[in-house]
């Protein structure tokens, strides 16, 4: 836990796993002893120099860290206003930020003596990263993926299978990320002794939101040093896309106490925030509730039933969000804004054509938010986007959407 002062926004969570009113441990009794063990094991590991050194070693030699900071000159010219930088997480091994968290958690799972790994995945990025570390560390793994997502993210399904993972399509509900998470929780409760649940986003019961944030904070910590080296000062604005919000929280967290840094999160606005069940912007269009182990902003109806949500991007298609984001929303520190499918698709194309970088559709939501913010800033200011994932996996589905235009 960070102890940088009484007024720090970086102190959470408290002993009960709360960030203000958000977070907590809303799980079945069967899982509760395991979650307490996990927390204890995590605290011990973090205090162990050997554990931390192994993470640093793997980050450098396996993931390829630090990820570059890149000045996007042509996009800066096209959008006008602030100088646009990308933090290139898509260059990591497996193509997204997800590997940062997976390496940390698999080392923890090994320390805890677990012999089997399960995970949920939406776009498949976390599934691929999990399958990858399971291959490297020789642990069997089962990935739960909504049947709808299995269809729209076929390349990632193939990658997971080649890496030796079992991919279990989930047909319950709408067959997307929330249903995959339900099914993963059901598996966990059944195989609680042997199995480690490697959650991919900064959500779920305490200590997952804290743990995932810590493993992802390497992104923001590196960026701090890189900006000081490149520009001689901190960035003026940060932008990241938010599904559950793992890349965003790792990107934002080291800057939360720096008042001069404006911070923005792009939520999935889908067909538009006014379209009922037509978006996945839980912090713009939802309200606090309890799901998947934590209290957070959720898309739900008047009776407290959870809505499926919609996004063009399978990775943002989740009706909740990590609890620390809910806290940062209510505190006003971070501004969260919805970006529609159409805006994301347009930004996806522009970045591809101008920078030669094909971003993930998730990341394209952040790009579209940069388009809205950069022109309101001065040319001597800087805005940094967390380029959280590469778009190879989306080429097929974007191709279908752009039929006739290519």
């Amino acid at each position: 836990m960070d102890m940088s002062g009484a007024n720090s926004l970086r102190q959470g969570p408290d002993d009960q796993g709360r960030f203000g009113q958000f977070g907590g441990r809303f799980v079945a009794e069967t899982l509760m002893p395991l979650i307490l063990d996990l927390e204890a094991a995590y605290r011990t590991a973090r205090a162990d120099d050997a554990f931390n050194a192994e993470i640093v070693h793997l980050a450098k030699h396996y993931t390829g860290r630090p990820s570059p900071l890149y000045f996007a000159d042509r996009l800066t010219e096209a959008y006008g206003g602030a100088r646009i930088y990308f933090k290139r997480e898509e260059l990591n091994h497996t193509g997204s930020h997800k590997i940062n968290n997976c390496l940390g958690q698999i080392l923890l799972a090994k320390r805890m003596g677990k012999t089997r790994i399960i995970a949920e995945t939406g776009a498949g990025q976390h599934g691929v990263a999990t399958a990858t570390v399971c291959a490297k560390f020789g642990l069997p793994c089962t990935i739960f993926m909504g049947a709808t997502d299995v269809e729209r993210q076929r390349p990632n399904v193939l990658r997971m299978k080649m890496l030796g993972a079992e991919v279990r399509p989930v047909t319950a509900g709408a067959g997307t990320l929330k249903d995959a998470m339900n099914e993963a929780l059901r598996d966990w409760v059944t195989n609680v002794e042997s199995t480690y649940y490697l959650i991919g986003t900064a959500a779920g019961p305490h200590p997952y939101p804290e743990m995932v944030r810590d493993f992802q904070s390497v992104i923001g910590t590196e960026l701090r040093a890189q900006m000081l080296e490149t520009e001689g000062r901190l960035p003026d604005a940060l932008v990241a896309c938010i599904g559950g919000g793992s890349n965003a929280i790792g990107f934002f967290h080291p800057f939360l106490d720096d008042e001069g840094v404006a911070i923005y999160g792009a939520e999935a606005g889908g067909h538009g925030i006014d379209v009922e069940n037509g978006h996945a912007a839980s912090m713009t269009g939802g309200r606090p509730g309890v799901l998947h182990g934590n209290r957070t902003y959720l898309l739900q109806d008047a009776d407290g039933q959870i809505l499926e949500g919609h996004s063009i991007s399978a990775g943002l298609d989740y009706p909740g969000v990590g609890p620390e984001h809910s806290f940062l929303r209510d505190s006003g520190r971070v501004k969260y804004m919805p970006i529609t499918d159409a805006q994301a698709l347009e930004a996806f194309q522009l970045c591809t054509r101008l920078e030669g970088i094909i971003p993930a559709l998730e990341t394209a939501h952040g790009l579209a938010l940069v388009k809205a913010i950069a022109p309101t800033m001065r040319p001597d200011q800087t805005i940094v986007l967390c380029l959280s994932g590469r778009g190879d996996k989306d080429v097929e589905s974007v191709g279908r959407l752009l039929e006739g235009q290519l």
């Binding site: 799980v27 079945a28 009794e29 069967t30 509760m32 059901r186 509730g289 998947h292 407290g304 959870i306």
Partner: protein, 275 residues
């Protein structure tokens, strides 16, 4: 008062030298009218205590049978308010049989905890089982429920060790619900003998009755588990009996009778448990 009805019922069946039959049905499955008819007839069919499921979109601790029942209920338009109204309706005809509402926290949280407890008390609800509220979250609903005179029945599981058991039992009232396995509802019990040991272990820590649920499918299971347990809980098997009669999700002539028929068999089973 809520827990009085539960306590009185366990005392009555104990005097008969048998375990209580606790039956679970999902409110609104397959529709409101059929579900009310099933509920109303349960005591006559042999149920001693009724667990009434509050449907939720994301039942993370439930197997397929109860998942589908919840889905049918929600598709037919069931709400938490209607579930409370079902209890109220039942209470007009039956003032003795305890009713425990079972489900997940979010619909209650969105209804508003205080408003929900007041409405539940008014309707004649005796207890609550909320799967995703462990003792660590007692401030949310457990303490307010106890203050409102409604029992809060806790689940204990094979992973709840002796070190943790006292904390789990601390604010439990009415009875203790022992989950027979690590798993979701509707799965099969791997080792029935183990269940008896677990019940005896829990009883060493509490004077409350211990009911066992998860994986009890028929009269024979009920008789076996009922040798050691003060109550046996059957849910998925009754839900499946209902589901088997449906025509494209809609009730047929046999629907209500199928539920009550199985409950009658189970009632005979618990009466053989210690015979």
């Amino acid at each position: 008062m809520g827990s009085d009805r539960i306590g009185a019922r366990f005392a009555a069946v104990k005097a008969e030298g048998r375990p209580a039959l606790v039956t679970f049905v999902m409110a609104g499955d397959p529709d409101l009218a059929t579900s009310q008819a099933i509920l109303d007839g349960l005591p006559r069919a042999g149920a001693d205590i009724i667990e009434l499921g509050m449907p939720f979109s994301d039942p993370m601790a439930d197997g397929v049978a109860i998942q589908l029942a919840g889905q049918r209920a929600l598709e037919s338009g069931q709400t938490l308010r209607q579930t409370l109204a079902m209890v109220e309706d039942f209470r007009r005809k039956d003032s003795q049989t305890p009713i425990v509402l079972m489900g997940y926290y979010n619909p209650i949280y969105i209804f508003g905890v205080d408003a929900f407890l007041a409405a539940a008390r008014e309707a004649g609800v005796d207890g609550l089982i909320v799967v995703d509220l462990p003792p660590e979250e007692d401030g949310e609903l457990c303490i307010p429920a106890l203050e409102a005179g409604i029992s809060f029945i806790r689940l204990t599981t094979p992973t709840t060790d002796d070190r943790r058991l006292p904390a789990v039992l601390k604010n439990t009232s009415g009875f203790v619900y022992y989950v027979s396995m690590t798993g979701v509802t509707g799965a099969a019990i791997a080792n029935r003998e183990r269940v008896g040991e677990a019940v005896r272990r829990i009883k060493a820590h509490t004077a409350l009755p211990v009911a066992v649920g998860f994986g009890i499918k028929n009269a024979e299971d009920a008789a076996f588990i009922g040798r050691d347990a003060d109550g046996v809980v059957v849910g998925s098997a009754i839900i499946s009996a209902i589901a088997d009669t449906l025509d494209d999700g809609r009730p047929t002539e046999g629907t209500v009778g199928a539920a009550h028929g199985l409950v009658a068999e189970l009632a005979a089973g618990v009466r053989r448990a210690r015979g």
